[in-house]
Symmetry: C2
Subunit: 334 residues, 2 copies
DNA sequence: TAAACTCGTGTAAACGATTTCTCGAGAGGC
DNA sequence: GCCTCTCGAGAAATCGTTTACACGAGTTTA
């Protein structure tokens, strides 16, 4: 039948009009009669015509694609975020190019460059290392989720983040109010902004309660994985550090801490109370469901997509820095 | 400086050659002197030139992109698969367009159509509903992972799947060898090929052991989630169905079954032995790590990408149906 | 030594859309 | 009746590449 693909030219000749008219019908830009419109549409339906987005992209110098850069899609938190971004974007007519970087800055750079070459309409840069600032200035609008870059923001960009400071306070205050005196803080040793803000909240809660923090309680881990927390907790115990509460800055850290505590004969919540962060399902389905700070991924996704689309359409946005509230989910570890 | 983007034309004039020559240097197709090559490359480096992939895509009528259709990226199993596919593809020079369908056939169809419009070089169709066969015939090469479609395969396509039959046998035989007489089987009521093959393995193991299956033991669930297994197990117990072993056809089902069993006072593994399927980390970090059948996602991804790239390059592939071995990970629930 | 290649390079035609002109016809105002 | 406006439609330029073809000059072959 059709050797490759039916093009606008075929539609034009079959409908007895020029390609310009077909294009106008396609984009509903007016300047045609109802009768022509119907005829063209009929032909398009009959031939199962779909416009070639690549050709359009070349002409208008922009693909209706959004690049999403994520550090680790196997982490349920990011996976949920990606899924929700993708759903929102697709509904708005955009397709998502998803790039997994494995927390590797070089991969970030390469994907960034590839996305530019692909002429994407926008870039959503999730939890990036924030270590390089190339290419952002004159390219596609960019949204930074969850971690704030350490360079000056370009014009057409936005930061969307959970209210990590409040989250850190919520978690810490809960533990303090339950009578904890020494709260171990498990955090990533790279002081990414999201982590740093949770730490700031931890400090703020202490000072508001008139409590002092023993700096030994703040443990810097190599990663935010189950294993990192598992061994860090063992180490803290063997160092003789005393604690009766744990604030783990991610749920996977909380899971690892839970397991290590259990193996060392510490009862949760009787001996030690535990709070995680993120709200992933693994924490909910833990032996004892873990109290955690839930991030509102849906709201983050919505705000991000809305901002990016505004930029694409040349509109102004109200805030260049959007904060999304978090919620405490108290469960059985406190 | 540069108002939009430096194009091949700019490079040509700056290097004092024609655009054809620049293009040849770019694609290393020969027909130029070493001296010209160096000059052109120097200019490209100096101007930070990156070829416009959209323009190239239009010209050669194909983007170096691969569409990946996945039912649920928040499921760690699919997330891992996607991540590994993406890594392999990127290394081979392809970018991934990832589409999440939420197990919704209509979404599958829409994403499929969008991918065609994007002129992708290939499509990887993961765990699809397999309910429609449009568009596959003359379009981009397609790989079906994990679930076999129920229509005749088009020429340029391949099926990659875990050896689900062996997996089903491995799980069942283990339970039988541990003395289980009545093995509850938790499976998705949609008889997708991957699930069906595990069920076949379940039956085969029984018949080889000379055991008969009580058909009441085969429970059809609405989904493969924690909650579905949780309530199904409660239901089975309240129906008075006796069992001393459970084969859950996914790890999330196993997690739900574990929880339900525990709440009903059934001890695992003393009263009931439990085997899951997939090998996700949540099963490993369960209160008692769950024995499971691990799928080799890395191998699946490799085989898939290799086959798809072969098709793109017009090569033949050895097998149109590739089976990847599974492995038993025996842990504390058996 | 003429014919036939090879080599480096340039010219120009695609690829499939959008978009700016241009133009004729009919309508309306004076 | 003439001028102007609007409206539907087409012709053609354009986006940034790739690539078929052309073309001299140098090199080989018979």
């Amino acid at each position: 039948m059709d050797k490759t693909h039916v093009s606008i030219k075929d539609i034009a000749s079959m409908a007895g009009v020029s390609i310009a008219t077909v294009s106008r019908v396609l984009n509903k830009t007016g300047r045609y009669t109802k009768e022509t419109e119907e005829r063209v549409n009929a032909v398009m339906k009959a031939t199962n015509y779909h416009p070639n987005l690549v050709a359009r992209g070349l002409r208008v110098n922009r693909m209706n694609n959004i690049g999403i850069i994520t550090p680790d899609i196997t982490n349920e938190f990011f996976a949920k975020l990606v899924m929700e971004l993708q759903t929102e974007l697709f509904a708005a007519g955009y397709c998502s190019l998803i790039c997994n970087t494995n927390e590797n800055p070089d991969m970030e750079r390469r994907h960034f460059s590839m996305l530019q070459s692909q002429n994407v309409a926008g870039i959503i840069y999730m939890a990036g290392s924030g270590t390089f600032e190339s290419m952002t200035s004159k390219g596609a609008p960019t949204a930074y989720i969850d971690r704030v870059p350490d360079f000056a923001l370009p014009e057409n960009s936005v930061i969307v983040e959970s209210d990590n400071f409040s989250g850190g306070m919520l978690a810490t205050s809960l533990l303090l109010s339950k009578g904890c005196k020494d709260i171990l803080l498990l955090s990533d040793k790279r002081r990414l902004s999201s982590q740093q803000n949770r730490i700031n909240g931890y400090h703020e809660s202490h000072s508001r309660a008139g409590a002092v923090v023993n700096t030994k309680l703040i443990r810097d881990l190599d990663s935010v994985s189950f294993g990192a927390a598992y061994s860090a907790l063992g180490e803290a115990i063997s160092l003789g550090i005393k604690f009766d509460g744990i604030f783990a800055s991610t749920d996977w850290l909380a899971m690892g801490a839970y397991q290590a505590a259990k193996e060392h004969g510490l009862r949760i919540p009787e001996d030690v109370k535990l709070v995680g962060y993120d709200g992933i399902s693994a924490a909910l389905y833990n032996e004892k469901p873990i109290t955690t700070i839930c991030q509102n991924t849906l709201e983050i996704a919505r705000a991000t997509v809305e901002a990016v689309i505004s930029f694409i359409q040349g509109k102004e946005i109200a805030e260049q820095r959007i904060k999304v509230p978090v919620a405490l989910a108290e469960r059985e570890t406190t």
